[in-house]
Symmetry: C2
Subunit: 308 residues, 2 copies
Amino acid sequence: MIEARHLRVFRAVAKTGSFSAAARRLGCTQPAVSQQMRALEQSVGTPLLVRTGREMRLTEAGESLARHAVGILAGLTAAEEELAAIAGLRAGRVRLVSFPSGNSVLVPTALAEMRAEHPAAQISLVEAEPPQSVEMLRAGDCEIALAFRYLDMPAAAAESAEDEWGDLVVRPLLTDRLVGLFPSRHRFAEEAQAGRPLEMAELAEEQWIAGCPRCRRHLVAVCEGAGFTPRIDFATDDYPAVAGLVGAGLGVAMLPELALESVHPKGVTFAEVRPAVRREVVALTLPDLARVPAVEAMLEQLVHAARR
Amino acid sequence: MIEARHLRVFRAVAKTGSFSAAARRLGCTQPAVSQQMRALEQSVGTPLLVRTGREMRLTEAGESLARHAVGILAGLTAAEEELAAIAGLRAGRVRLVSFPSGNSVLVPTALAEMRAEHPAAQISLVEAEPPQSVEMLRAGDCEIALAFRYLDMPAAAAESAEDEWGDLVVRPLLTDRLVGLFPSRHRFAEEAQAGRPLEMAELAEEQWIAGCPRCRRHLVAVCEGAGFTPRIDFATDDYPAVAGLVGAGLGVAMLPELALESVHPKGVTFAEVRPAVRREVVALTLPDLARVPAVEAMLEQLVHAARR
DNA sequence: TGTCGACTATAAGCACTCCTTAGGGTTAAG
DNA sequence: CTTAACCCTAAGGAGTGCTTATAGTCGACA
């Protein structure tokens, strides 16, 4: 088995024509070169060099190996340089999966900063809701998945338990509150405008507009924690659409702050609800991927962007 | 520095998708693979694999390295195969330098046997007289040089001293006698025909026809050892020409037996001369080259052919 | 749900490799 | 004849790599 170290030494010897010169070039002592060459000759089974007092010549086998060594060592250094580029963030790819409400503000600013600091990194972005995004992460279809979980849940809700993410690396980004959305003509709108928090229990008779399936399940759980089952008339994972429906007077809704940052619907009044419900937004990745430089840097930009 | 061993292990892991399977394929234990991969990841500075319980996937850096590894390992095995071919005499080149009288019988039969045993070996033949052939050997222009030296020389002749070949490898092939050549009409021809050996001293008054410069010097030394200085009228290194000149009655000569094997001149009578003069034909090579398989085999064929 | 089988990571021990220093022999130049 | 440069060999110490043994984890199957 020819080893790369052998070839590096052999090339130096072939180029300089001397063991001592090769040793100087390689930064080691001459006996080291001598031993390496002997080992190489033994491993290939035939002499490679002719020691003739004054000069050092190659045998036919030596010429042959020298020819091959050029390509092999070129390939090795090319590989090393490419990997060094990835490790040094002069290259590298990160596939990011995010849920829609994260895409509005958080992800764009993080991407902008990433682009500014590491222009060569290639970032791709795909939209997917949490259950699916984690699946993609485990399947190797992305490096980072943005997800969220609801805090302050009734103890009965086992869905958002501690080990929902299992062995994934969890980087908390931010926690945002859920706020209530009412049509401006709604009977609670004026009180909300005045700053009075609404009790969930007061909303037992309202018609509800829900978000994505997961958000919908969460809404049901929260309402049942407050003692009633919500009447859900519409459900869509398009947040602006939810706000639009509320503005049209078709019902009330509860959306995370983050989703509303870039939404300014007409005829909608926001209200704080009690008991407070918070949502934690996190970035997820696999333990090994967390050590990939490009992934590491992207995570860093995400937590930075989350601090506004 | 990426080492070849790393790449071999990495390729096995990438192909099988498992450390254990790679270990089985490589014929070692699983911890060995585990350690090698960790060392490789550390040396390139970024993770190459994603361990996700069930399966083993490559990171971007891993994919990159896998791409490069194909070419690098292909180059390595190509080099190993080519060197193995040279070492196994399925390839290999031997450049042989011989003097003219060796080319007539000895070298052709040796080449024929070499061709028969190792058809793939490429043998080239160049003609040169001993002083020059040794020079070519030292200059790297050939692998084997055929040469000769005279035995039974007067002690004064230091030229053919022990260290004429210095540190070269000397393989004795054969020793042939020098025989006298006389025109058949010569006064000694009849006695020679009867088998009476001629004394050198009897030839003091003859006209001589000499061979190559070296042979000529030797002739002078031998004659002076016998008490006279030869009168040399012609000198040529073409042995058939020497014999032809003798046959034409232009003088006497002394040629090695070997040179006469393929020469059957008309009008020439051979005679044994006293004191007997012998010539030793040897094959020379450099110590390192003596271990090159093709050179080794060619030397073997030469000594074999020398035994008729 | 519990157990079994397969996989990986880690630790300790041992052999081997590799590099160094030290010393000797040879060759070419001053 | 001396010097300098080169190569080889030998011996010692540091490091690498492999092995066995052990623990932990995941998925399958009853």
